[in-house]
Amino acid sequence: MPLTRKIVFVDLSSGKIRKERIPEKLRRLYLGGRGLDIYLLHNYIKPGCDPLSPDNVVTVSGGLLCGSVVPAAGRCHSGAKSPLTNGVGSTNMGGFFSPELTFAGFHHIVFTGKSDKPVYLWVHNGEIEIRDARHLWGKDCFETQRLIREELGDEEIQVMCVGPAAENLVRFANVRTGLKNTGGRSGVGCVWGSKNLKAIAARGTMGVSNRYPQEALEYAQKWQKQVVNTKVAEALGYDGTMFIWNVTNTVGLLRYRNFAFNQLEDWESLAVEKFHEKYHVGVVGCFGCPVHCRHQWRIKEGPLAGLYGEGPEYNTQMCMGGILGITDWETVLHGSHLVDKYGFDMAEFSNIAAWAFELFEKGIINESETGGLKLEWANAGKLLPKLLEMVAYRKGFGDLLAEGPYRALKRLGKPEAEYYLLHIKGLGNMLSDERATPALALGIATSTRGCDHLRSRPAIDLYHLPEKILEEVFDGGPMDSNFTSYVGKAREIWVMERIYALVDSIGTCKFHSIFFSPHMPKFEEYAKMIRYITGMEFTPQELREVGERIYTLERMFNHREASYSRKDDYVPERYFAEAVPGGFPIVKGVRMDREKFDQMLDEYYAFHGWDKDGTPTDETLKKLGLDKEPSHIV
């Protein structure tokens, strides 16, 4: 029974371990996973603390339905106060770790304090042990997992760990499991490193029972059919997330050489077809997932022969490729391998490295600042492996890049440099150019993680769906089929935020939500699955409220810890100042419209019940039960 999974508090300073039941009241308010994690962060962090101090808190969790029969019930969440944004640090990864943690009896782990020497946690069938990790410190993300399995003598142990980047406090270090599953954004791995926490190993044989066993299995099968029968599941299963690139590059919705171009005209070299031809060797999936959107690749000839890995993603194509002006697959795959090895966010790296290249191009920095590195675009491919290593180990110019947007800017000390760095709230932008897509722009501007798409990206906004369908999917209107319109986009983001908050708290995958297809499971389906597996009754409306509560608490956390407000809910200045240079006529020449953006922001705040400055009103807080936070229920 999911509801019997426990929460464990591990104080790394004293070594004290405390196991607790999770009160049903908290489950009803937050479900689990990301939802319960923000509650725990908000309650346990010392307000105003330095993210790299022992007063920060790390949470690790599986969702409410983790390890159960619902397909793809294997996502893992980890949270902390972000060393990049000072606000919500929240990251989510696939793989097999959190189900194993669940089978070992736990849904949530909360780490407080700091260990005086490197340690890892060993969780097995209800037992928790803090073990010495000094022999693992310095080992990369692949070796660490292998060594722990050997040490503990069981090949079936799942390990979640950090790599050298976290140990060196690279501000965008990530958490890892498997060959490439990554909790990348917001620098949560860096906080692990600051606590001398190297890894968690889990192994369990305690089953997750179903409240209504027959109905649960039958409905799980229905759910699976609903998911795999969509066209997008087919595309994902064959091309992985790279199927998106063929569309977005064709229209011109991407960013190349930081922000110079929005479409790659010589696209054949970077297309997924080329990857299939030369490097693809198989397809794998995360725990319980019928979509299997992940490739396996191997380089068969040349200087990198023998190198293999999982992935790449659409993100990889651009972060190790297009954004840096790199268009050959071997460099991209090599880069992908290295970030998986060192353990840091390739999106954050790509954004800040591309910034440095543009500054160099424009003469704002030169070799004296870069320590002799010639950051010319034509060199980017050759420099990539070296730069990645320099960042992981904070060597030379890598030390500046490793600081992330806010601190890199401060250290560089050139006010004119800020204009070229695409970031929001101190988190860098990923691969999209959102100028012509107001919905996507609003999403990254208001995301509680900072400039990030996964709190709310409504990819279906790009499909030009009929207004009637959009109204149905997004609980009302008016809506506009056109992705360049500002009409109805605030509503889209508001609804998506709730859905993603739910998905991340239930513990399933966003690709099984209306991210890419309006036909995927939504509130009604979540309610049924929760009921059959746990017995908890939620109406679809109550689930909407849970999503709202989780998102609002994240907003409150940001307000308290980083004083974020309306002034921080804008896209970078470049979006308003520069027109889209190329691509299809529908996007070419478009700039973001400041007045319309403000109007959209007002609408968005109104939907949430926040005031004009983006602060939740007293009435809203009371309605969601957040007026008593922090409430310390557990």
Binding site: V69, V208, G285
Partner: protein, 164 residues
């Protein structure tokens, strides 16, 4: 005609949903440790192999069973267990060439695939059809067709390349 459970290793993605639903079906709780099927993974070498009872025609586990608890049920074409006779000696576990018999430490009995009485749950959920439950005569038909198509394609390309 009895059906057989076929395993196409090349199609397995290692998602382990079969383990989850198998245990959920038999134990009313999802628990890979109690599943009758298990995916063995050696990630670095892309080894993903489902291991499950093959319902051998001349099953070693039947031969060694001291109480004749294990037997062939020809109705479904499976190896079955009569728990009234089983004494839990676990010798069947040690002789199974595939390690397909497990021991349920809580119920204190050996467990292995029983084909869900002729309606295997794992097959229903296997998204890539790595697991199939097909009529014995047709068991290798799909593989034959797949290979035939690939061979034909290769021969056509070869023919074109030498200008036949």
């Amino acid at each position: 005609m009895p059906k057989i459970l076929t395993v196409d290793i090349g199609k397995c993605t290692g998602c382990r949903l079969c383990e989850v639903v198998c245990s959920a079906k038999h134990e009313r709780a999802s628990n890979p440790a109690k599943a009758r099927i298990h995916i063995i993974k050696l990630e670095d070498d892309r080894i993903l192999v489902p291991v499950v009872c093959n319902h051998c025609e001349e099953a070693p586990c039947i031969v060694v069973c001291p109480t004749h608890a294990r037997f062939r049920d020809e109705r479904i074409g499976r190896v079955a267990v009569n728990y009234d006779r089983c004494i839990g000696c676990k010798v069947c576990m040690t002789v199974c060439p595939f390690g397909a018999i497990a021991f349920d430490w809580e119920a204190k009995r050996i467990i292995s695939c029983n084909l869900c009485d002729g309606d295997p749950t794992c097959v229903k959920f296997c998204a890539t059809q790595a697991l199939q439950y097909v009529e014995a005569a047709a068991a290798n038909q799909r593989r034959q067709r797949e290979i035939a198509i690939r061979l034909h394609k290769s021969l056509q390309e070869f023919a074109l390349s030498i200008n036949w």
